[in-house]
Every structure is written in structure tokens, then in C-alpha cells.
Symmetry: C2
């Protein structure tokens, strides 16, 4: 199970932690009883899909078909409909997985920007390959994804004909209504469900994340089993569980003027887990002018870029290290060099992984001496079960931390503001009213 | 040339800007006269390599040889010895360039972490391909890069024999001394220079960035020409130039309690330019407990993750938008759909690029209404010359901003702290003294 350590943060005393007991107790009630704000969106809490249940088997069957008849899976989605799957795949399969010919289909994520260049690049990588598509959108009207899907649908129908294309397109969407659901029913796409009570950023353990991950070769049964086990462990521990303690420590740091949490990994493959974490916490807490700004770094690489700032810059940060237990398989060893011009023979025989661990410890102590505290989230490492544990740990920590902040951790009202302006500027029917005023404002830019 | 706009930041008045006149004047003197702290590292200011000069021709000749006899170029370097080249290549050639069979060699960056898994993945991508190597390190003893290079050198000698390997390895290092220079001279590697007066984060326009970029197919002559032209333009404008105005606006924001600058691009290919920017500003300013914490985002993708925070979260941010002028070539058009189930026919016929521009404008106005101001850096767009202009613009802005902060913008004393600990923990000769105390501290973690 996931562990959490903060004793190395010397400045934190037991009393600092206890000061948040009241807020934590309330947050716990909100989570367990569904009595807090946004409780319509607590569906992630009980992990709707269990390993091996009928829905999981249906996802696995679809993934098996994709794997059997496709060289490429195009995943069309944005935000929570893309970050989770990408994070899981890159961490477990490496960001190079599309280039390593290991028998798994290539997986590309599109429809998450308005970059025509990215769209064109990915489509050109599909040339001569057998393609399947997973389009993921609750409503089917999210602009970035819907626009990309119009083109992808056309491409698929041109390549395979309408009937065969329909067998190669999988829609993950609302169970009953919406533009994508209607289209899928009409065309005969197999559908998977974005549950009504699970927001995008909490959806990686639903079909949203599971289908692309399983198709990429991830053992989603183990991923789910890890999450289920973590859930049981956290719930059994009551208030004194590591996810809650992490949530409390975030508030201790906030109360000391820390404005920014930096999620640290020493593994470049974890980078998209950092992006996923930024959405999870940033979107859950960033409201009512509150919240810790979430950033992420990959050390030791970024010690050579942002390390200076963390060590000696504006003291607005703390670090949270996502730290795998155990060691990496197949980690190369530093060879002995009889010349030793680089003076590194003291490392000869050591694995990269062993050096990495010492870099982590040395950095933690150096940053603490510089005034930047580090919290540690220990998890099992690079296997699907451990990643499932970690994901569920972050879910609970995020919900608790958001409730302790006294916001609704499950809405995202601010995301509509730019869309409203964009629609008015693009002439979407129904948005005419604001257009003239916006056009005037634009002249002043 | 690069432009800068802030009038859309409604809260900023002319008097707010003028308040920094004194600090700016001093910063300008430091930059122009070399009279400030760290002036030994002002070498980037005059752009040592000019398009078409002898050194540039030598770089181009080496790149031409790599292009002629290699399928893969491995670039071994960390921090400033990797971010600039990677940023330039990804922006100008797309992050998918290694997969698009367009006649350019694949370029992989290694030696920038202790990830054995990444190292193994990249080496397995070299199988059956013709490989060249550019190892980049001022000293040759930077641990991450030196350790990787030990293995790469061995690999090359096993593949090609020592003599041919030496022709395929290019060292960018100190002109006269250091471990890598000695090794290169002994083995007969062609050498390029990391100048004494240019720090890593300012080195992209030296051989450090130019050789990998040219080998990848970037027109480095145009890149340099853009930088030279930007230099002339900025210097001719005196104090009233856009790079200085940007530096001043950063201080206006800082004086209002903004702790974090978010560099915004609407182009996923710009992502590594964001990483480069984070090192440039973070390492230059993050000292003496000062500096703006630099973050970067890719919109509209990240509007669906961090957008909520920027719109309504803790008001510690401002945005700086890197905005290309003109429009993208080959931007796909939204097709008309007679069913219009997604309701997006109002976009039919529009290019992705046109939608992106409206998204940018709508977002800027929405964020401003939410209290997050946006500054705009206008540049020419995705061509080497325009990127050279932008790079030099950021150099000058960073130097000015750092001097206005009254720090030395060109050192990075804090980067040594973790290395010292790491070396002690790893048993490096000469670091024995601190080891026992560190081991004790580690027990408490």
C-alpha cells in the first residue's frame, strides 16, 4: 500500500498536524457519507468497475479486438479524457512505447488541442497501418475533441468503408444521452460509459482510462485490484491514514505561506503522471481564490534547470516526492574505465538506479537545508497494481485536501469562462449577445 | 522582430512601469558595459558565432557528415547542454520528428537523468541503425552525462571499432581543458567549444545547440541571423525596447504579489521551449530567496487541466503568452456535417489555426476578468529565423529582469548543494567528511 512520510520535514511538529483535526474530520465525513459539496460526483470513491466484473471483461474484450486487428489506436479526448490513460501508459510502457516494436499497438492522443500540425503529424503516422479509434467525451460536443473526431471519422470511413469503420470506432461517453451517444448508437459503435458521478479528472479507473490502457498492453485488472486494495486499506485505517496525513501536510505547508506544491519524480517515465496530478489537484482546489498551485518536475534532469530555484529561490514551494519502493529491473551498471578521466570510477559497478536513489536522498537533504521541505509518498513502483494504489491514494488525498480547503473539490466552474468567450468569438449560435463587446475588447489588445 | 504588449493588462498604468526606470537603467548599464555581477558570463550577448563564419561552417560541415552517414544522433548532455537543442528541434520539426520518415536523422537526448530504463529504451532504438554521438559537457565530469557517455562510448567502439567510432563522436566542451577535452584529444574526436563566458542556459546559440539542431535539419544560419537581427534591433532601441519592457512588467507583477509566471503557448510543439524558458529564468533569478517561479502550459489542452486554477484559484499567477504572428500552414479545416449532432457546423470551413486564435483571445479576456493578467510576446512563428529572434529576446529580458532583481543572473550556486550530498553518499573521493553526518540524517527520513 502507499505510504506517506513527513518526519524529515524538520519544521513540522505533531501539534502543527493536530491543528487540522477538525477540518480533517469534517472532510472524512463528507467523503464517507457523501454529505459535502459536490457529492453527486463521488462515484470514483467506490471504484465502479471491479477487476473481472462484466464491464471489465467487456473492456478487455474490446481491447483484445483492437490489439488483434490494429497497429495504431487513436485516442480522441481532452483533459480528464486523455491525461489519465496517457499517464498510465507512459509510466508502465515508457514514453517510447510507440517506437519500441514490442507487439503492442501504437497509441496516439489527439483532439486535445487545436494544433493542426500535431493532428497532421499523427495522421501521417497512421499511413499504411491498421487503425482503431477510441473517442472519449461525456457530451460529444467538447470542441477540441469533436472537431478532431469529425476528421477522424471521415478518415476511417474513407479507409475502411462505413460498416468496417464502425467496428473500429469505440465511443466512451454518457450512458444514455448526448451527441456522441446518439451518433454511436446510429452508427453502431460499441459504447463504454463515462459515469454521471465521476468527473473527468477522477475517471482514469473507468472505461475512460481502462480501454486505452488495456489496448496498450497494461494489465488493467492489476491496476483496478491495486486501487481496490488501497481503498480498503485507507478506509480501514479511519482518520489515521496516509492519504489524509498527506492532505493535512499540504495544509500545514499552505498555512506557512507555501503557495506551490512541486510533485517530484526521479523517473522521466513519470512525467505524464505529473500532468495528471496537476489536473487532479489544480482543478479540484483552484477555486474561490484558493489552492496550492501544482507544478511537477523530473529529477535529476530538472535539478539542472529548476534546482537552483528550489534550493535558493523565492521560498514559496514545497516538494512532494513520488518514490517507488524497490529497485528498477535491468538498470545499467557504470563500467570501470582504467583511464578514469572523468573521475567516476567510484561509481563503477553501481547501477543507474542506485545512483538515482542517492541523488534523491542528497537532494532532499540539500533542499531541506535551503528551506524547501520535502514530503514523501512511497509506492510500489512500476507495476500496474502499485500504480492503481497510487492513483487511488491521490484521489482520496485530493478529495480530503479540497474539503479541508472548504471548496467543492468536484466542480470546475471556471473552465466555462474561456469557452463562453471563444464560442461568442467563433459565432456559435446562442452566444451572439456577448460578441460585440468582446470584439471591442479585442481591439484594445 | 519580437514585440511585447501589456496594455490589455488593464490594471497596469504607465506610472507603474515608470517606477522601475531606475532599476532598468542600471540593468541596462550592467548588460551593455559588463559592469554588473557575473559579467564574466556575458558572452551570449554578442552572439559569438555568426551565420556563415568559420566556426558556423565547421558546425555545418560536421552536421552534414552526421546527416550523410547516420540514422540516429545521440545527444549526451543535461540542463543547458540539452534543453535548448531539444526545444529548437521539437518546435521547428515537431516532437514526432523521430517517427516521421522525412530524411532527417532521428535525434535522441540521453545522459540527462539516471533513468536506466530511458537509457535502455533509446539504445534499443539504435539497433540496426547507423549512429553518431554528440557529447556535450563543459567539464566532462557532470555525473549524469559522463556516466551515460561511458556506456555510449563502449557501445560505439563495439559497433564500429575504436577508429571509426572516433569519427562518429563529436565533443562539445571546454576549448582547452577538462576531462572531456582531454579524452577527445586523445581519441581524436572533433571538438566544438562551450565558451568560457556563456553559461549552459544561455548556450543554445553556441555549438551546444547549433550542432544537434543543424544535424536534425534546422537552418541554424537563419536561427543565428534572427538572433543577430534581434540584438541589433533591441540595442538600437535603447531603454525603450520590448525585451526591457517585458522585464519591467515581470517586476510590476512581482510587486503586486504575483509569485509565479506561467509561459503560455497554444502550440504543443512549443512545450520544450517552455522547459528551456523555465531553466533560463528559474536558474537566473531563483536565488537570495527571490525570483518568480516559472511554469509553462500548453493551451487549449491545459485549459482542461490547469485552466480552472488560472481562472479562479489562488491569485499568485500571471501569464505570458508566446504568440506567433501569422497563421499555420496546412492547418486542417473543420468539415461540414449534415447531421451536425455535435452542433459544430458553425465552425465548418474554419481551420484549426483560426479556432486556436479565437480560443487564445477568448481565454485572455476570461482570465483577465478572473484577475489573472496576460502579457503578450509576439514573434514571427515557426521558422528558424523567428525562433532565433525569440531566443535572443528572452536572453535580454532575462538578464535585465535578473539585474533588476539585484541578483547575479549568471551564476547557479545552489545547484552544487545536492551534488555535494550526492557525492558524499556515493563515496566520491574528497567528499568523505560529510558522509557520516548525512548517513545519520538519512536514517531519520
Amino acid at each position: 500500500m502507499v505510504g506517506f512520510r513527513y518526519k524529515q520535514a524538520q519544521s513540522v511538529a505533531e501539534t502543527d498536524v493536530r491543528a487540522f483535526d477538525g477540518l480533517l474530520k469534517k472532510a472524512d465525513e463528507y467523503i464517507k457519507n457523501g454529505s459535502g459539496r459536490g457529492s453527486d460526483f463521488l462515484g470514483w470513491r467506490d471504484i465502479g468497475i471491479r477487476p473481472g466484473d462484466a464491464e471489465h471483461e467487456r473492456i478487455k474484450a474490446a481491447a483484445a479486438r483492437i490489439r488483434a486487428n490494429s497497429d495504431v489506436l487513436l485516442v480522441v479526448g481532452i483533459g480528464g479524457s486523455y491525461l489519465g490513460a496517457r499517464a498510465v501508459i507512459e509510466y508502465l510502457k515508457t514514453p517510447y512505447h510507440n517506437q519500441l516494436k514490442n507487439g503492442d499497438p501504437e497509441v496516439y492522443f489527439i483532439g486535445n488541442s487545436f494544433s493542426g500540425r500535431e493532428f497532421n503529424a499523427v495522421m501521417s503516422l497512421c499511413e499504411g497501418k491498421r487503425v482503431s479509434v477510441n473517442v472519449i467525451s461525456k457530451s460529444g460536443t467538447t470542441t477540441e475533441s469533436a472537431v478532431a473526431f469529425r476528421l477522424v471519422k471521415k478518415y476511417m470511413e474513407e479507409c475502411y468503408g462505413r460498416e468496417e469503420a464502425a467496428k473500429r470506432i469505440f465511443a466512451t461517453t454518457d450512458a444514455r444521452r448526448g451527441a456522441l451517444k446518439s451518433l454511436a448508437d446510429k452508427e453502431g459503435y460499441e459504447c463504454f460509459v463515462v459515469p454521471d458521478d465521476v468527473g473527468g479528472r477522477f475517471s482514469v479507473l473507468t472505461a475512460v482510462g481502462l480501454l486505452p490502457a488495456e489496448a496498450a498492453g497494461v494489465d488493467t485488472g492489476a491496476l483496478l485490484a491495486g486501487a481496490v486494495a488501497e481503498r480498503e486499506s485507507l478506509f480501514a485505517a479511519g482518520l489515521d491514514n496516509p492519504a489524509y496525513t498527506y492532505a493535512v501536510l499540504r495544509h500545514v505547508m499552505l498555512s506557512r505561506g507555501k503557495k506551490c506544491e512541486v510533485l517530484v519524480s526521479y523517473d522521466p517515465d513519470f512525467r505524464f503522471m505529473g500532468e495528471w496530478y496537476k489536473q487532479l489537484f489544480g482543478e479540484s482546489e483552484g477555486k474561490e481564490h484558493k489552492g496550492l498551485f501544482p507544478a511537477s518536475v523530473t529529477y535529476s534532469s530538472d535539478l539542472h534547470s529548476l534546482g537552483q530555484f528550489v534550493q535558493e529561490g523565492s521560498p514559496i514551494l514545497f516538494e512532494t516526492i513520488a518514490l517507488p519502493r524497490g529497485s528498477e529491473k535491468d538498470s545499467p551498471r557504470v563500467p570501470f574505465d582504467k583511464e578514469n578521466g572523468d573521475g567516476l570510477n567510484f561509481l563503477a559497478g553501481k547501477t543507474f538506479d542506485e545512483i538515482n536513489e542517492r541523488a534523491m536522498l542528497g537532494t532532499l537533504l540539500a533542499h531541506r537545508d535551503g528551506g524547501t521541505e520535502s514530503l514523501i509518498v512511497d509506492f510500489g513502483g512500476r507495476d500496474a497494481r502499485s500504480l492503481g494504489e497510487l492513483i487511488y491514494f491521490f484521489f482520496i488525498a485530493c478529495a480530503a485536501s479540497g474539503y479541508m480547503l472548504e471548496v467543492n473539490p468536484f466542480d470546475q466552474p471556471g473552465v466555462e469562462a474561456y469557452k463562453k468567450n471563444m464560442f461568442a468569438l467563433l459565432g456559435k449560435p446562442g452566444y451572439e449577445e456577448g460578441k460585440a463587446a468582446l470584439e471591442e475588447k479585442i481591439k484594445l489588445i
